[in-house]
Symmetry: C2
Subunit: 487 residues, 2 copies
């Protein structure tokens, strides 16, 4: 017998509702499911079978066990801000939404760690400990709404990952529900070289294909004593790129070293947080250093000097925290800002060796011309993580396809110079085929063999991360058709 309020005759819906014991914690009507048909990657849409909202680990385990025993495909979802489609229910999955598991469970300042549930929002952690002088380092631009569980799945990066590392460098332990419903603890409290294989590293960034994370122990850091931020405008992108290399070569490790090109500047200046960047420059650098106050002035002077040696048009340090905040708001809302100059945009996520920056930007320009689409570039220049934003208009026939193809071509350029196809957004469904740019069949098989150890029936988030002929739903890039079918 179903819990009160369930209007479905589907035995699985009834049984899933029974597991969580609450009719308000399950969605199964088509009109409710539409909100879950995609994530931040909006170019493919698929309806889930249901969305369930467990409140604790045991409920997650019970749901997983049920799905596993009944051969129902399932996947976990956080805030749904992922940019590569990792939470899209390709196979009509039961979505296990973790947004009700959003508690900060403990903070241990002495040993610099905190324990959170997976649905806890990234920025809330820093906000919760800021008054004591601590923060959580990984800062994806979506940090005001994305969840730490999702960050673990995607091994999320952010502007300050140049100095502080990506999510995997800040995860000390995980509680995981395995695809058979078993609950395991992984990681030994942040000990860097713990015994046994590095399962913590293996799970982090596995894009929800190996297990569902239900508790996360993270490293927290002491706030740096001081921060200083510099903005530099370059007439030529080569000079900007070279300044990036020069700063790193000087032995300075900036907390962040961001670049935007001319098209990107047009976008951010037309959007909600303009700061008055000149429109005729080719590159703006946003450079932040942090640490003990005594050393910062010297670093800033060094950075100013490097920029001057590279023909900077204008360079200056933020005069106060308010100005620094405006510069960061301008940068961190950069993706969305493209909406101000284009009806649609597709963000890509390639990585290249820093020294290849001018060559790669030049090739991306050629792609832009070839496909007849403008491409803005916003990137974490310090670690060579590019975000080409392909601007397009989905209403024009064939333009979505052309945008996807142009994005793929940008990734090929990155792979060709010894880089790779994702720096922080993950592979998901978006870049499955592009995995072949960087992995041989054997290397992909070695990875799917590992998946099989954890996820033997591939019921958990199937069709993601790997090109898998015959095993996953064929994704056709005929988007219009699919969207029409759903709406």
């Amino acid at each position: 017998m179903a819990v009160k309020g369930i209007k479905s005759k589907d035995k699985h819906i009834i049984n899933l509702a029974n597991i969580i014991g609450d009719a308000r914690s399950i969605l199964y009507h088509t009109e409710d499911l539409i909100a879950y048909d995609c994530d931040g990657f909006t170019l493919h849409k698929h309806l889930p079978k249901a969305v369930v909202f467990p409140k604790n680990t045991q409920e997650v385990a019970n749901l997983v066990k049920y799905c596993s025993e009944n051969q129902l495909p399932f996947l976990a979802r956080g805030a749904g801000t992922g940019l590569s489609g990792g939470a899209i229910p390709l196979n009509g999955e039961v979505i296990i939404s973790l947004v009700k598991m959003k508690r900060l469970l403990s903070v241990d300042l002495e040993n610099r760690r905190a324990v959170v549930e997976p649905g806890f929002v990234n920025l809330k952690l820093t906000n919760s400990i800021a008054d004591k002088g601590y923060y959580y380092a990984p800062d994806p631009s979506s940090q005001y709404c994305c969840t730490i569980g999702g960050n673990v799945a995607e091994n999320a990066g952010g502007a300050h990952c140049l100095k502080y590392g990506v999510t995997t460098n800040h995860i000390l332990g995980l509680e995981v529900v395995m695809p058979n419903g078993e609950i395991v603890e992984i990681g030994t409290n942040g000990i860097p070289d713990a015994p046994g294989y590095d399962l913590l590293g293996l799970l982090t960034g596995s894009e929800g294909t190996l297990g569902i994370v239900t508790k996360i122990t993270v490293r927290i850091l002491k706030n740096p004593e001081a921060k200083q931020t510099v903005l530099a405008y370059f007439d030529r992108v080569e000079d900007g790129s070279q300044a990036v290399s020069d700063i790193i070569s000087a032995g300075i490790v900036p907390a962040a070293l961001e670049m935007m090109d001319k098209v990107a500047i047009e976008g951010v200046e037309a959007a909600a947080f303009p700061v008055g960047h000149p429109r005729d420059i080719e590159a703006v650098l946003l450079i932040e250093v942090d640490g003990i106050a005594a050393g910062l002035d010297e670093q800033i002077n060094h950075i100013l000097e490097v920029c001057k040696n590279r023909n900077v048009r204008e360079v200056r340090a933020a005069k106060d925290e308010a100005e620094r905040g405006r510069w960061w708001a301008n940068r961190k809302t950069g993706f969305g800002a493209m909406g101000a100059i284009s009806p649609d945009y597709l963000v890509q996520d390639g990585v290249i060796p820093r020294s290849k920056l001018p060559e790669v930007l030049n090739n991306i320009n050629k792609i832009s011309e070839e496909y007849g689409l403008r491409i803005a570039n916003i990137f974490h220049a310090g670690d060579g993580n590019l975000h080409p934003l392909v601007l397009f208009d989905a209403r024009k026939p064939g333009e979505s396809d052309r945008a996807l193809a142009a994005g793929s071509a940008c990734l090929q350029v990155c792979a060709d110079v010894g880089g790779t196809i994702t720096g922080e957004h993950g592979v998901g469904i978006e870049k499955r085929e592009e995995m072949r740019f960087v992995f041989s069949d054997e290397e992909i098989n070695a990875q799917t063999d590992i998946r099989e150890v954890f996820n033997p029936h591939n019921l958990l988030n199937a069709g993601k991360l790997f090109p898998m002929p015959g095993r996953c739903v064929e994704i056709k890039r005929d988007l219009k058709e699919k969207e029409a079918a759903i709406s």
Copy 2:
């Protein structure tokens, strides 16, 4: 027909010699093999079937293929300095020694990376690039002779890993011969969040059980502009421990933060590099900060102040590089120095949360009393990595066993406070059973399942890393008997 000079009638010896095409590159006489019956963990000895010295990746692949096809157990060995027995041929393995593959293949200063063969000695890398102002960070105390291939296998740490991380944080790519002889490339040039599962992390620290590394791309760092080093003497170990916590809490990240206790001081002062530590103190701290010169004085002053607030007896900064060098020589030769005060010693390698230091040291003292054996403590205090050195005399009946039992008890103490059983030396054969202190059966099975993906017949370095009833040679701790059998 065998290559010229082979005196064996064993078809496998003849065939192995043929693969490397050189009679001087294979050892198979018992008198030659004895040198390979153990590594830095000398309490168990087993003779290999043969030792072969390939000169390149293809030869390694051919040897592995031969062993695999002929069901011959095999393992890789670097300099043999490992402290947990990872290179001991428990099953009469064919040892594939990588010491002839010792070239520095390339250095790319602009992108901060170098490529080495596995037999390249750790310190030689720093020596090769020092004149250009760069260095390789992981610095195990054996760095003057240990190889980078071995460092990868064990995920080696070192005194400066507090700030700079252990080996896994510095490995950007690997060429690996898989247990079936296939050659694969792993890692995408140091991109922190590369697509796919983190195979690079999985291989690093897998103690030679998943594949044989034949080429390594490592990160190299710019030398810090300046270094300063402080020595502090404490009458009470609690004060020294508290000073460690206070320094970290102050937001300072020292490059190194080392501690030695009273027994350790007795040893290092009696050995080759005494520096005049007072004999009646309970703890000496060696604290090093590095970075931009402008910030260092302030950090040093802060450290001096912290120490004074914790009742330090004496604290001072090194007056010059020569003094700094003497302090480090005193510390880095600490293990061997125990030979000056004890006929034998067993080094252990536990890790604990920093805040548990006084409690754990107290419990180790109790173990010392209980087992009637002195225990010296040398440790990386900043990251809670303890090295209890159990002093014993192998000539006295039963004392070796008692030392092993006392070492194991120390690890139990570490595990009990939420720590673990190895911080940098690996599990090998030494701590196989102690894996149960920190892993459940399910967690161990998950790991052996992963091993099976790579190493399905368990021919590569079997019997290491995991407690595996029925699958590996039973290790009896009756050492005398085994040693007698070999000699």
